[in-house]
C-alpha cells in the first residue's frame, strides 16, 4: 500500500478530479447540444419509449404462427413444440384439415406467455417452420394470468418485424385486459 493510499486524502482528491472531469466534459456537451450542435451528446442514455436501441435480428420476441396462402396455419399439430417446451407453456388440440393433402391442423394453439422462458426451442423444433419469434414485440403485459394466454387467432394475426426494426403489428392484447 502506497503512503498516499494510506493517507487517503490524495486518493480522494484524485477521485474527485476524475468525477469533476466527467461533470465538466458532459456539461460542455450538454450546453453545446442546447446551443444547436446536435451531434454533441453529454450522456449515453437512450430515452426508451421514444427512442429504442436497434434490436438484433436474432432477438427472440413474441411468437407468431406462420400462415399458408389461404390464411390457415402452417402448423400441422405435430406436438413437437409442445413436447420440447421446457416451461410446458404450449397447449395444442389437433383437428383434421379440410385439405386431404394436409393431415392435421391445430384447433387450439395456446401459448401461456406468463410461463414462457423465451428459449426458442419451439422455433428450433418445428419441422414446418410454422412458429417464429420475430415480431419484435417485447412490451406485452397483463393485469391477470388469463391475459397472458395468447390463442391461435391472436398469434396468427401477427406480422414479422419491419425493415426499420420496429414491430409492424400492435401489441395484440392491451395491458389493461383483465380476463
Amino acid at each position: 500500500m502506497r503512503v498516499t493510499q494510506r493517507f487517503y486524502l490524495a486518493e480522494a482528491i484524485e477521485g474527485v478530479v476524475i468525477t469533476a472531469g466527467h461533470f465538466f466534459r458532459n456539461m460542455g456537451k450538454h450546453i453545446a447540444h442546447a446551443l444547436g450542435r446536435k451531434s454533441a451528446r453529454g450522456a449515453v442514455t437512450i430515452q426508451y419509449p421514444e427512442e429504442r436501441r436497434p434490436y438484433s435480428p436474432r432477438l427472440r420476441t413474441l411468437h407468431r404462427l406462420v400462415r399458408r396462402e389461404d390464411g390457415s396455419p402452417r402448423c400441422v399439430a405435430c406436438m413437437m413444440c409442445e413436447t420440447v417446451c421446457p416451461a410446458h407453456c404450449i397447449y395444442i388440440v389437433a383437428t383434421e384439415h379440410p385439405n386431404p393433402e394436409i393431415e392435421k391442423m391445430p384447433e387450439r394453439f395456446d401459448i401461456d406467455l406468463g410461463k414462457c422462458v423465451f428459449c426458442g426451442y419451439c422455433v428450433e423444433a418445428c419441422p414446418e417452420d410454422a412458429i417464429r419469434m420475430d415480431t419484435g414485440i417485447l412490451e406485452f403485459s397483463s393485469f391477470s394470468r388469463r391475459g397472458m394466454i395468447y390463442t391461435k387467432e391472436t398469434l396468427l394475426a401477427l406480422e414479422p418485424i419491419g425493415a426499420d426494426g420496429r414491430p409492424t403489428s400492435p401489441v395484440p392484447i392491451p395491458a389493461n385486459r383483465t380476463v
Binding site: 486524502l9 480522494a12 477521485g15 474527485v16 476524475i18 468525477t19 469533476a20 466527467h22 461533470f23 458532459n26 456539461m27 450538454h30 453529454g42 450522456a43 449515453v44 442514455t45 430515452q47
Partner: protein, 364 residues
C-alpha cells in the same frame, strides 16, 4: 418601531428563504449533478402542460407525493417522540444559518442594516450549538421507532456527530485565533485584509490545514456519503427506516439543509464570506494602485452575489465528494474522526499559536 420590526423580519425572511429554497433545490441539484457526473441525463419526466424545464418540477412532484402518502406509525413506537423527531431535525438545521452573514452593512439614509439574520457576538458557537442539537432529532427518531436497525442508526449518528463535532470545533479554533473574534461578521471582515499587499487574507490561505479538516468533518456532520453510516442504506437503512411520507422527506430535507449550512459556514470562515477580492466599501482598490469607485448599492449587491456564488461552489464541491467516494465503514469513520482529524486540528492550533506568537498578535 414598526420599521425596525419590518427590517428584522426582512433579514430573517431573506435568510430562511435562501436556505429553504436552496435546500429544496438541492434535491434536483443532487439528481442532475450525479447524473451528469455518471454520463446519464437524470430525472426529466415531470412536466406541467408539457413543459419539462430540465426536470425542475421533480422536487414539486416529490413534495406533492410525500405529502399525500400514508403517514405510518409503528404500533410500538413512542407516539410523541416519533412525531417530534423530524421536526427537531429540520428546525435546528434551519435556524443554524441565522448568524452567518450574507453581506456587510446596508446603508439606507441614516439607517445601517447588518446583512445577517441575527447579529450575535458568539455567532460561531451558535452555529455549532444548532448543528449539534440537530442530532437529537436523529437520535430521537432512532429510539422512538422501536426498531433495532433504527436504534443502531441513531446511535451511529450520535457517535459520528460527537467525533466530527470535536474536529470541527478544534479546527475552527485556528481561525478564531487569527481573526480574534467569535462574531462571524468580524471574522469575515478580518478576511478582507491583504497579505503582502495583494493576497486576500481568506481563511483558506491563512488556515489551509483547518480548511481541509473542517470540510471533512463538515461532510461527516451532514451525515451524507462518504460518512453516511447512520443511514447505510445497504446495511441498516438507518434511523428513518420506520418513517414514511413527509416525515421521511423532512429527514432528507434536513440533510440538504445541513449541507447548505456547512457550505455557508465554510464560505464565511474560509472563503472570505461576502468579500470580493480587493473590493472595499467604496469600490475596487486593485493591488497595482488603480481604483474603481462604485456606488454603495452596487457594492452591497456584489457582496451578496459573491456570498451566494461561494456557497453555490461549496455545495457543488460537497456534492462532488458525496457522489465520488464510497462510504466509510463505521469503525473507519470513528478512527478518522478521533485519530485523524482531531489530533491534526490540535496540531493546527499549536502551530497557529506559535506563528501568532512569533509575529506578535492577530494578523491585521
Amino acid at each position: 418601531m414598526l420599521l425596525d420590526f419590518g427590517i428584522a423580519f426582512g433579514r430573517a425572511a431573506f435568510v430562511i428563504m435562501f436556505v429553504l429554497n436552496l435546500g429544496g433545490l438541492l434535491g434536483w441539484v443532487e439528481r442532475k449533478q450525479s447524473a451528469i457526473m455518471q454520463d446519464r441525463i437524470g430525472a426529466n419526466r415531470a412536466s406541467i402542460f408539457g413543459f419539462r424545464v430540465l426536470g425542475l418540477f421533480h422536487p414539486l412532484a416529490d413534495a406533492v407525493k410525500l405529502l399525500t402518502k400514508e403517514d405510518f406509525r409503528p404500533a410500538r413506537a413512542d407516539r410523541f417522540l416519533f412525531g417530534l423527531a423530524p421536526f427537531v431535525s429540520v428546525f435546528f438545521a434551519l435556524v443554524a444559518f441565522a448568524s452567518i452573514p450574507f453581506g456587510d452593512t446596508l446603508r439606507i439614509g441614516d439607517r445601517v442594516i447588518p446583512l445577517q439574520a441575527v447579529t450575535l457576538n458568539v455567532g460561531v458557537l451558535y452555529v455549532f450549538a444548532m448543528l449539534s442539537l440537530g442530532v437529537y432529532g436523529v437520535m430521537m427518531a432512532g429510539w422512538a421507532s422501536a426498531n433495532n436497525y433504527a436504534l443502531l442508526g441513531g446511535q451511529r449518528a450520535a457517535a459520528l456527530m460527537i467525533s466530527s463535532e470535536i474536529a470541527i470545533g478544534a479546527s475552527i479554533m485556528g481561525v478564531i485565533m487569527i481573526y480574534g473574534s467569535l462574531d462571524m461578521q468580524e471574522i469575515v471582515r478580518g478576511q478582507g485584509y491583504l497579505l503582502f499587499g495583494w493576497l486576500p487574507a481568506w481563511g483558506i490561505i491563512t488556515q489551509p490545514l483547518a480548511f481541509v479538516i473542517f470540510v471533512t468533518a463538515g461532510i461527516a456532520a451532514t451525515k451524507r456519503a462518504p460518512f453516511d453510516t447512520p443511514e447505510s442504506e445497504s446495511e441498516i437503512i438507518g434511523y428513518f427506516v420506520e418513517y414514511s411520507g413527509m416525515k421521511a422527506g423532512m429527514f432528507m430535507m434536513s440533510d440538504f439543509l445541513e449541507t447548505v449550512v456547512i457550505a455557508g459556514m465554510t464560505t464565511a470562515l474560509f472563503l472570505g464570506g461576502w468579500q470580493v477580492p480587493w473590493l472595499l466599501a467604496d469600490g475596487f482598490h486593485f493591488p497595482g494602485g488603480s481604483t474603481l469607485v462604485l456606488p454603495h448599492l452596487v457594492v452591497v449587491a456584489l457582496q451578496v452575489g459573491a456570498f451566494s456564488v461561494k456557497v453555490g461552489v461549496m455545495i457543488f464541491i460537497l456534492m462532488l465528494v458525496r457522489w465520488t467516494l464510497p462510504r466509510f465503514r463505521y469503525d473507519q469513520a470513528m478512527r478518522l474522526g478521533w485519530l485523524g482529524l482531531f489530533p491534526l486540528s490540535v496540531l493546527n492550533i499549536v502551530m497557529t499559536g506559535a506563528v501568532l506568537l512569533l509575529i506578535g498578535g492577530p494578523a491585521r
